[in-house]
């Protein structure tokens, strides 16, 4: 069975025409996963029994009914910070190494009801904190386009799984770019929905005012199919919203695309800039109007994010005490009191980046600093949001790069937190403003393989040969205008035969 080009609708067609059964599809993916994932390391847990049981149910459904939901029998992967009942959920952390999820996240409940098949849980940066998946406490994931490079992060396992055809689609989560940046690095489609569009119930919280779950897929059509299933108000997430916004039919002749000049300045890779500008030109050629706009507070988004996100993280991660779940591994220690228990449990359980952010968040929230840092950041956040509001009075949609560079090498940025954070400079303003944005593959840059920075020197082969790395275009819309984003994104697909 050839899995390479299976999208959701192609798999669905194959199932209802009885070209293959759901069990056959499921087993083909499980087999491929066993063989190919050793090289990529996209998965932390493979849920073989669950997948087979689900697939058998879909086959029973197919025998009785002619019509089954679009997602019935479609294999998917789930980022390991989203709960699937009775399946291990680690969030990429030692502190949750043996945590078994006691319930389904709302998006999982909806996908299960739609008949989607869960193949397994994918590797994230620990607690979704990172841009390379190197912060996973277990192992780094590799980019399927070049295994010397990172897949991006924090949803790097999900992105790599889809890009390597180990799953038809996947779920990720995005707090500062964690769906879009790995989608860009791996050449797939990834949507960060409007804040509130998808329930966060059952998502392990990182920064609650920024986190969103979203689909990672091969095509824009697939992305829309998955989004339509997982979106909507949920009584279990008080920040979720029901939106019945119907976007008007897209008229290309009057479509105005804004290009913020602040996204094309220092630090952007010339290859990336060229690919993005060519993509913008394609839209101009098919009739859209391109307008330069300004989002003047862009340069403050990164420092603003690095106050707000760690502050919320330090509060959210206070719950990990190894009393309700988890345990202290070093059994020889004599622990006198509860305070020492906390210190040891959290020292054993959290990795370097998580500790860094807990420390930073605790510092900026501590007595005497609240106004200087947190309150100031919240006010700057208002200005960043106002920038977008003003821009959307002039244009319908905004185009930017997803990340200033293509996928970088494993080990290249791990010791320099600030340079790692810059990888999300184009995506985090969108989280601060709560807007929806998609990453679609829009071209490639060629680069030469070298041994520089490669941490696994003896594994490196083919030094000097060329690799082609995918680049993502970010399309940002107004709140709850995902439909318009999909329509605009789909216009590029005829030009995007780049795989």
């Amino acid at each position: 069975m050839e899995l390479g080009n299976l999208t959701i609708s192609k798999t669905h067609q194959g199932l209802i025409k009885k070209e293959f059964s759901a069990l056959e599809v499921c087993q083909a993916y499980l087999e491929k996963l066993k063989k190919k994932d050793k090289k990529i390391n996209a998965f932390l847990t493979v849920t073989e029994n669950l997948a087979i049981a689900q697939a058998k149910k879909v086959d029973e459904m197919l025998q009785i009914n002619r019509e089954v939901p679009l997602l019935a029998g479609i294999p998917m992967a789930v980022k390991d910070n989203i709960l699937v009942e009775d399946v291990k959920c680690t969030a990429g952390s030692k502190i949750l190494e043996n945590y078994i999820a006691p319930y389904d996240a709302t998006c999982i409940k909806k996908l299960k009801e739609a008949g989607a098949i869960i193949l397994g849980k994918t590797n994230p940066d620990e607690f979704a904190m990172g841009s390379s998946t190197e912060n996973s406490a277990f192992f780094p994931t590799k980019n399927p386009h070049d295994t010397e490079r990172v897949p991006g992060g924090s949803s790097g396992g999900s992105a790599a799984a889809v890009a390597a055809n180990l799953s038809v689609f996947a779920l990720g989560s995005d707090t500062g770019g964690s769906i879009r940046q790995p989608a860009s690095f791996c050449g797939i489609v990834g949507l960060k929905p409007t804040y509130g569009a998808v329930s966060r119930y059952g998502l392990i919280a990182f920064a609650s005012s920024l986190d969103q779950i979203g689909p990672m897929t091969k095509t824009v059509e697939d992305c829309q199919i998955v989004f339509d299933i997982i979106k909507g108000k949920d009584e279990l997430d008080s920040t979720s919203v029901e939106s019945n916004l119907k976007s008007e039919i897209l008229n290309l002749k009057s479509l105005k695309i804004g290009i913020p000049k602040e996204y094309f300045v220092k630090g952007i890779d010339p290859g990336v800039e060229k690919v993005i500008k060519e993509a913008i030109k394609k839209y101009e050629e098919i009739g859209a109007k391109i307008e330069e706009i300004s989002l003047p507070h862009t340069e403050y988004a990164l420092p603003c994010y690095y106050i707000i996100a760690p502050s919320e993280a330090s509060a959210n991660l206070a719950r990990y005490d190894s009393i309700k779940y988890g345990e202290i591994k070093n059994k020889k220690l004599k622990i006198k009191n509860l305070f020492d228990y906390y210190l040891i449990a959290r020292e054993e359980g959290f990795g370097p980046e998580v500790r860094r952010r807990i420390m930073l968040g605790t510092y900026v929230l501590s007595a005497g600093y609240y106004e200087a840092y947190y309150l100031r950041a919240q006010k700057v956040r208002t200005l960043i949001r106002d920038d977008f509001n003003k821009a959307f009075q002039k244009v319908d949609i905004i185009f930017t790069p997803v990340s200033p560079t293509p996928a970088f090498k494993l080990g290249e940025k791990i010791d320099d937190p600030l340079s790692m954070y810059l990888s999300d400079v184009c995506t985090m303003p969108v989280n601060l403003a709560g807007l929806p944005a998609i990453s679609i593959p829009c071209g490639n840059v060629s680069t030469v393989k070298s041994q520089k920075h490669a941490p696994y020197r003896n594994e490196v082969s083919g030094a000097g040969s060329k690799v082609s790395l995918p680049i993502g275009l970010q399309i940002i819309g107004k709140p709850f205008e995902e439909e318009k984003i999909f329509e605009v994104a789909r216009l590029f697909e005829p030009f995007a035969n780049i795989h």
């Binding site: 008080s238 420390m359 600030l418």
Partner: protein, 102 residues
Amino acid sequence: MISKQEVKHIAKLARLGLTEREIEKFQKELSKILDYIEKLKEVDISNVEPTSHSIQVENVMRSDEFQIANFKLPGNREVGAKKLMELAPETKNGYLKTKPIL
């Protein structure tokens, strides 16, 4: 640069055990990041309201009911209390067990 004493104080507030080496590491790293976020001081924020969420958020209430077997959730969902308790490393008579506070 922030002092060693400050790093230790923050780690205590965060209930995070640190090694001596880490204390020095955080002194340098946190100082570098804090210098970077100083950039926000350039922005004029007079007469600007803070944003905590990008959407309007309202408090949602539910009735405070005592349940023993399962936690019933809206939308006909429930979580087994047993499942939650089974995750704990130490329990006694249906309670979580911890070290003494003092």
